[in-house]
Symmetry: C2
Subunit: 196 residues, 2 copies
């Protein structure tokens, strides 16, 4: 994971990430609402043992889906209406790292702070800023939520032949919860005062 | 499904539901972002054949999770700080119907309009209004999103002994997508102008 320090704009755990307005107690409540347990944390780490190596393939498969739908692809377009390839490449490295972090990082203050940062980077507050680009200023929340359905099914990546159906189900459920907890946190800067 | 006309406040397809500000074209884009296909629609209807009869048990299992977490339970409390049992009972009937509708209803204008209505009923715009109650004015979006992880796994209800693992997986994936598409739509009234 330490190779991640060389990813431009990957500011996890650095002073460039501001403290999240969400407290750790609030995070625990969100985790509890999602039913995220110690067992899920363990299952996620087990899943990570195989997912970390496949993280780029996973992201490539998701990216192919984005590229195939103009309404999703256009949030990566430059002002001329073409894909900003440098931006896509920069985001991709952090997206791959996100798979690793989702499985392997402890859910502490640094993790919570970076969730807020990721959320902000999808909104006008910070989108484009990290990479000094000029793509549209937001990824609409409706797509962020709907796209969970694409990022959710990880069974094809879990080397099913080596695990029991029960283990696979535990890993799948843990991953689903972990993604939803993050989308919940990322939605914060999108939401009207008092409704988040 | 026609017994549903007797559920108080269940205004699906009636003049009491305003037209959604979301267009059918926008709905199709959200469905596409979630990867929702004709095959998913079919798998959902097949799932519905067994889920419709178990809808109340499903809701009871989810409700037990809500009741067990004070931070989720309190959105059903009356001003004295106790659960508003009449409100809970009224919402429950509609929640059970929601399981049926998720599997069986076509995704047309009436369906889209009612998604907006459900979203509004979780926000200050319409929460409490339908049932003339005095519970807190909002269910925070962070819990609505996180709780998808609880509503998501339907395998235990799918009579697994009667179906192939592949059929079960198709139904599970179709259900997951259908839920996320709805949460995406329900999030609309929560979100700041231009960010949804």
């Amino acid at each position: 994971m330490h190779s991640s320090v060389s990813i431009p704009g990957y500011d996890y755990g650095t002073a460039r990430v501001r403290r999240s307005p969400v407290t750790l107690d609030e995070l625990r409540q969100i985790e509890q609402a999602a039913g995220f347990s110690e067992e899920d944390q363990h299952a996620l780490q087990c899943a990570g043992e195989v997912l970390v190596e496949q993280a780029e393939q996973m992201v490539d498969s998701w990216r192919a889906r984005i590229a195939a739908q103009p309404e999703l692809a256009r949030w990566f377009f430059d002002p001329s209406g073409k894909p900003d390839e440098a931006y896509k490449a920069a985001v991709k490295k952090r997206f791959v790292q996100w798979v690793r972090d989702t499985c392997m990082r402890p859910r502490d203050q640094a993790w919570l702070d970076y969730q807020e940062e990721i959320g902000l980077r999808h909104t006008p507050a910070k989108k484009n800023q990290t990479d000094s680009v000029h793509t549209p200023p937001v990824v609409p929340l409706r797509y962020l939520i709907a796209f969970v359905a694409v990022v959710n099914p990880i069974r094809p990546f879990l080397c099913r032949e080596k695990r029991s159906a029960e283990e696979i189900e535990e890993m799948q459920n843990a991953w689903s919860k972990a993604v939803l907890i993050q989308i919940s946190l990322w939605s914060r800067p999108y939401v009207k005062e008092g409704l988040w």
